[in-house]
Subunit: 372 residues, 2 copies
């Protein structure tokens, strides 16, 4: 099975990627000596699908399990949900020798990881990501957080999991829209580190409407692992986001977040907003660093094949996007840090992007894309 | 000036103890390269005394300071206060390159330290402890936490400060009761690691009613540093409380917490409850490990000199203490982990204490102490 190791000193861990791996969580927990008591945190969408088999696998490995099912949705990433989960865990008899199992997408992973980081000042946890975004991105690298009204992910911790089990089979039950928006993060990985992956992604994109072929299903662990590998190497270089290398992962995210914040929550999926953000970032990369038009086009073609939006929805006011983006980022002498590409696979953390650049890039998103 | 170093790998830091050191915080912050923006978190008791001079010292070192004053009291150690402080810090323009200055007693230190540990997933902070307990105990070792209804300190983090500045002059404005209860934690340090310090503590205790002599004031930094040294060596051995060594610091605390929880909040000070807890622990040490009566008596005499309670207040129901203690601790086959002394300076983490032992020890606390 593809296995990616994150070498982070005493925080090192393995990511196991294989079809059907969710059923083996008990085996991996025993091998990692995680103790005999687990709090399984999941959401109401995922629990009916995989909750009981995960529980059974843990129990078969002699682990006592309490199950905590939250409502699905980003609003659950809150301090009140943290307090509720910690209280439930105390009532269920957990203590500092327990561990947390996070089963679900990015919201569950961020929330359950943060609960694990603060419960009795930190207990171990494992990630069982079930969405594309969670498997290739959010479950890897130890970022945990909750939102507060003042901003998203403002309260959090770096807390690395003890292992991650990514089971691509869990992606097969996702809706086409969820599958595609998750793959937008794979496009990001390809753009910053491995352009030739774009060919594979376009190939997979073609199969989404009819369902994956057996051959594609068999290849998913390799594709997922390839993406995890990209993120893992970056996290190893910059575990706590201090050197700037980890910032490369924000490619497409600066304006993506501004666009997300300009719409009622959930109208655009995260990956869809990031797709728009990537188009804007490619535009600025061409303008400032001479990124070749052919390279820009290849990324846009892949996003188009994934039916990601590349033109700003009409109801979005460009001035709103600007305002939300500016609120999020710190301008230093009128300039912000912004990830650009010199070429595909060659990202740069620019400090030269001005307010006017951002405005121009947002305006660019109101123009049609021609890919012929 | 006495200087205690905690050697904790990349989390190492110094504790500076000297009379008047609060005025030098700007110098130390600059030396530690903590950046140019600080959030000063303090409470409404401490702010009028030291808030402005701390702010001026930081500003003189070219640090921009926002001031956040909370109501004094344990109830402020809450998640809602964390959210409020983080929101205020965002509104004041802080980001991941800011740092936190915790100025006050144990509540401010625990709360502000936790805020620093979660703000943008962790920013640096420094401790400026102004109570006895905070100077010799809670500011040292990186334990931060808030309370939730399900229990005290259930949500927290290990987050080491970048430095600690303990200024014994700030103790001179404490009420005699606050001074004495804080010194109960010094008695604990003496009992587990340095019995000869008990003589010094009895000497200082005698001066409390009339105010300290100049000679005593001049000796305070040494006495405080001696206590910090004890805690520092223990934290170095067991930073994350995994080996059991750090548990020695809980001497007197298991039943102390049970007693605290059996009374309306604030009726007994923490150190007062711990004094009762130490008497109970000494009783069990004599019973189980043959601690000599003379050694038990020396600790009790020191606590008596500090006017600490040694007999359970009449309104406390021993059954209540038992219940609160048992709710706090995990019984394993009917036994709990409990710190005993084989001799003064020689603690043992016993796993042999039963429910009946605890009941007997609580009953012992209802009997008078004879020290003649």
């Amino acid at each position: 099975m593809p296995n990616v190791t994150l070498s982070l000193g005493k925080n090192s861990y393995d990511v196991h990627v294989s079809n059907g791996s969710l059923d083996s969580v008990g085996f991996f927990a025993a091998r990692a000596r995680l103790g005999k008591r687990a709090a399984l945190i999941t959401d109401a969408h995922v629990y009916p699908q995989y909750g009981e088999s995960v529980r059974r696998s843990l129990e078969a490995a002699d682990v006592e399990v309490s199950v905590h099912v939250i409502t699905a949705g980003e609003e659950q990433k809150s301090l009140s949900q943290v307090e509720k989960l910690v209280s439930e865990m105390v009532a269920a008899g957990h203590n500092r020798s327990s561990f947390v199992v996070a089963l679900g997408g990015g919201v569950v992973g961020d929330l359950a990881g943060f609960v694990a980081s603060v419960f009795y000042r930190g207990i171990p946890y494992v990630q069982l990501p079930t969405s594309v975004l969670a498997q290739v991105d959010s479950s890897i690298g130890g970022k945990t957080a909750v939102n507060i009204p003042a901003g998203k992910n403002l309260i959090g911790a770096f807390h690395q999991p003890r292992f991650v089990l990514a089971d691509p089979i869990s992606l097969l039950t996702l809706s086409p829209r969820d599958l595609r928006e998750g793959m937008a993060e794979m496009v990001k990985h390809a753009a910053i580190r491995k352009p030739k992956m774009l060919v594979t992604l376009r190939h997979i994109a073609k199969e989404v409407p009819l369902g994956f072929s057996l051959r594609t299903i068999e290849s998913l662990p390799e594709v997922i692992a390839e993406n995890i590998e990209i993120k893992a190497r970056i996290v190893e270089e910059d575990e706590h986001e201090t050197s700037g290398v980890r910032a490369f992962l924000n490619f497409g995210h600066t304006l993506g977040h501004g666009i997300e914040a300009s719409l009622p929550y959930g109208q655009l999926r995260h990956g869809e907003a990031v797709s728009l953000g990537m188009r804007a970032a490619l535009f600025l990369s061409r303008k400032h660093l001479g990124l070749q038009a052919q390279e820009e086009r290849e990324v846009l073609e892949t996003l188009a094949a994934l039916q990601q939006p590349l033109v700003l929805p009409e109801e979005v006011d460009p001035a709103d996007v600007m305002e939300h983006t500016a609120a999020d980022k710190k301008f230093d002498h009128g300039k912000i840090r912004f990830v650009l590409l010199r070429a595909l696979g060659d990202p740069v953390l620019s400090t030269e992007i001005t307010r006017e650049d951002l405005q121009e890039a947002i305006a660019h998103l109101t123009t049609p894309v021609s890919l012929n």
